[in-house]
Amino acid sequence: MTLPSRWASQIAALGALLASALILGWWFGAAGWWLAGASLLYVVFTLRHLYWLDRALDGHRRVPLFETRGLWAEVFARVEKLRAKARNRKKKYHRLLREVRESTGALSDGGIILNSDHEIMWFNRAASNLLGLDQATDIGHRIDNLLRYPDFVAYLKQPTGEGITVASPRRETGWLHVQIIPYGTDQRLAIIRDVTNEKNVERTRRDFVANASHELRSPLTVISGYLEALGEGGDVPEAWRVPVAEMQRQAERMTRILRDLIELTRLESADAVADHDFVDVVGMLKPIAQEFEGKQGPTVELALETDAALLGKESELHSIFYNLVNNAVRFTPPGGSVRLVWRAAGDSAVFEVVDTGIGIAEEQIPRVTERFYRVDPGRSRASGGTGLGLAIVKHALQRHEGQLTITSREGKGSTFSCRFPKERVVFRSDAVSAVL
């Protein structure tokens, strides 16, 4: 083991001190006293330096140094170096913190940091502008005491999904989108965005589609009426017979598209949650199955494994079931089969349409519920669909807190299953026992 030179010199100095004390003591004849005196001197010397070291560590700047070389000088130099390093680091962090503060302050989106009790820990300038928070008084207050929308409070307790849109507390017709992101241990970041423009654009779009559909419907009714009269009356020249029939078919298709568009805009603009009327699903599925059974094409089979009823809006549920069956029948060639299953799955209930049709490629599954999305443009138009059926299903199902799952294998067939949550399902056996 090699000692650093500063230690070696210190030990050498101590050795020299003791040795000279010993020699002098021996010379004057009181070696013990001389040795003790020298040791005491050394202890005092060391204690004094320790005292200054302690002061230096306490943060005193000016520490007198008695030596310019040797152990203590080096120790002090190193302490000073460490302190300088810490000072620099602190300065750096301060600068960094200030920069972060400034940049988050300049963001146009509001940010609020919340702790596990929903108390506000910090927020930026945009948040105080958007929500009317006050930097001086509102830190430490619970956010749901200041932002009291019942929807927001419910979301705050269970922040799931894409966030929530609430009316602006400061602007009469403003809208804010709030999303809460949990991070760290028990911390949450709430991001607030002004979505007034998006909301307005969305509304304009919806109003336009709704108005356009309504306006187009009346002239179309007139055209369809005359076409029908032409088709039924026998006095159409032979050459025009086929074109008139085709025009009639296309006019019908246009009517269906308009009807679906109106239905879709109605679903979008209605309240987020559908009513809770009692709907007899069994009674609803039977006529739907019968309607498709008679036609040429695949066989339609209805399997009622439960007699559960749903709490929802009758017309929308009918639209969900009808569109799914219609969709399956159209994409299943004659000779194939379409099976409709209504079954219980634990507390919830599931409606399933299993077909042996052409199937959907996996990468296209997420897109089939978009409006006017065509898996295979040529084929689906020929089959007479409007391109809106599944979009309607998705929206109507959302309003019933339901979930649509699609599984499919190309060439083998697809399964569309709608799961309704237990709050929406009434099992008859329960109903009977409740009455008894």
Partner: protein, 246 residues
């Protein structure tokens, strides 16, 4: 009572109880605000279904009032609060009564809006009513904010705003009389409008009451029926006292 006092208690459970019941009041306030908002929306959009829905949802407000009331009784019985805590509980008991009344008035507005939606609308689409409603809504919002922040200055602003609302109500009232004399066929509709203005004016009064409880809770001074100037003096005096103490 200072704002910080809420956080300094020997019994942590007591603290949590007080804090919880305060939060319940504010979420009840949020519900009432939403009811009012929807009732007014029903009027301005002529949406009778929404109006009736508001009337139906009033039971939620009532249910919350009952449960907060029970919670307060429980705190009074088991914790025997004193001083600032007692004032807090008393203020809460009074506040929820006023909130519940605001809910009732919102219910009335909802029913009236549903009825007005079925008759012909004036060309102004009830502009003066919507204006009054906007002011009243701001008062309720301000009152609840003052309650949440224990902010007596904010409370004072709301108390001051009540005079403007009363004047607005007065002018709608006079206008209604003129309309009814001009064209007796509109009497039914105008009467409904007047009732609605009356309900809004009452909501303003309830919001003012809540603010008075906030001042009572923070400064320990009962400021009912003493006039705006005196309330202002009390608030300033109370604020000075708080400042000198810290």
């Amino acid at each position: 009572m200072e704002v910080e006092d809420l956080g300094h208690h020997i019994s942590r459970r007591f603290n949590e109880d007080l804090e919880r019941v305060r939060n319940m009041v504010l979420s009840m306030g949020g519900l009432v605000e939403e009811q009012l908002e929807r009732a007014i929306k029903a009027l301005s959009e002529g949406n009778s279904q929404l109006g009736l829905q508001v009337a139906e949802d009033d039971v939620k407000v009532n249910r919350m009032e009952v449960s907060i009331d029970e919670e307060c009784s429980r705190i009074l019985a088991t914790r025997a609060p004193t001083a600032g805590d007692l004032r807090l509980v008393i203020a809460i008991i009074k506040t929820i009564t006023d909130l519940e009344r605001i809910g009732d008035e919102a219910e009335k507005i909802g029913v009236l809006a549903a009825r007005l939606a079925t008759v012909e609308r004036p060309s102004t689409n009830y502009r003066e009513l919507r204006n009054l409603a906007r002011h009243v809504k701001q008062m309720v919002h301000g009152a609840l904010n003052a309650f949440a922040r224990l902010d007596t200055k904010g409370a004072l602003d709301v108390v001051k705003a009540d005079n403007a609302v009363d004047e607005e109500y007065e002018s709608i009232y006079r206008q209604s009389i003129t309309f009814m004399m001009e064209d007796p066929r509109t009497i039914t509709r105008i009467l409904d409008m007047t009732w609605m203005a009356r309900a809004l004016e009452r909501i303003g009064d309830h919001a003012k009451n809540i603010c008075e409880y906030v001042i009572f809770m923070v400064h320990g001074k009962d400021v009912r029926h003493i006039g705006v100037e005196n309330i202002e003096a009390e608030v300033e005096q109370g604020a000075r006292r708080l400042e000198s103490r810290t």
